[in-house]
Amino acid sequence: MATAPQVDERSIVLAAQDGDSEALAAVLQSLGERLLPLASALCGGTGEADALLGDTLSRVYERIGDLRDPDAITSWSKRVMVRKFIDQRRWFKRRPKVSINTVEVATPLGTTADQLDLRNAVGKLDRRDRALLVLYYWQRVPIAECARELDIPEGTAKSRLNAALRRLRRELEGSHGN
């Protein structure tokens, strides 16, 4: 979450990189809370988000020493998560080291017919397109940055976004016509 930076976050990350187990646990706890909304949005609010987040934090656990800029830990972790979400095969091959337990919270949407139709339509999209929609329409990431996150050219990101919207509209018209 973009907020005023915590004064000691950098020092905690540095301590974690130096092998301080308590600092590492604190970093992972904090990242878990910050990244769960993204994992949940990517995974359509399902429990799959726990596995995605657990695997992402496992990667952070293993590679935190490689991070060159401690201030970039959130954006780095987010990028790891998006790429893991897209490459689902790699994600399920590994046994996560860090495990996450979450609790479900009641939300007002998701039960109306319109929302269920939209959720189903989004679920039929390619995972890269779903990630693009989440980043662009919910996280408000500019399209050029979306393209970098997804490792595709900017023009491709724009055309994929438009194609995904067209497909969603077609799906929704089809479901309303039934």
Binding site: A2, T3, Q29, L38, S99, V105, T107, W138
Partner: protein, 218 residues
Amino acid sequence: MAIEDRLEELFMNDANNRRVASVSVPPRPNPWRGIVAFAGTAAIVGIVAIAVILALRGEPQAAAPKVTASPVPTSSAVPTGISTPVAPPFVPISPVASGTVTGALGYPSDFIPAQVIYALPASNPADGRYFVETELSRSALNYTINVPPGTYYLVAYTRDSPAGTTYGGAYTQYVKCGMVPPCNDHSLIPVTVTAGETVTGIDVRDWYDGGHYPPRPR
């Protein structure tokens, strides 16, 4: 409602439907790993040194082992230091300036999207006369809003969200309790402002209510 707005609502809803209960972190790896890694690094350094010596002595280059120096293991996910221009902090356009409310903004992303922050009178939350607008920012952002004396709710909406939307961010009990479980109280906190007073620390950061805030004024 446009499909883009419906998508935002859907993702916001999905994003808010889970909370972290616990994170289980295994103990640190065996220190022998570090020793083995050190030994490996020492071996590489030795090979490089031998290669350099052989090269200086005029031995054929082809005989020297090929070593690629890579001080930092690269990963496609390692941040590349992308910089984003810092947006102007805010554009105050409130008509009356009798008291002031200030605080930080937040959003569940690396970015803070362009927002409009309203001070909604507690007696009439549909009154949208007192607001400030912000531009997209990648860094921390504060807001300041001037209002007549009174009691207000501070609520933010993304600038392109439609009038009437109830999806937004706000200053709530959840902000006051640190925005971590088990706290789950998203009720708005009324902020009372008197003439000449500046009320600080009214952080509009709770975007996790899932659509229960007052509708965005028209």
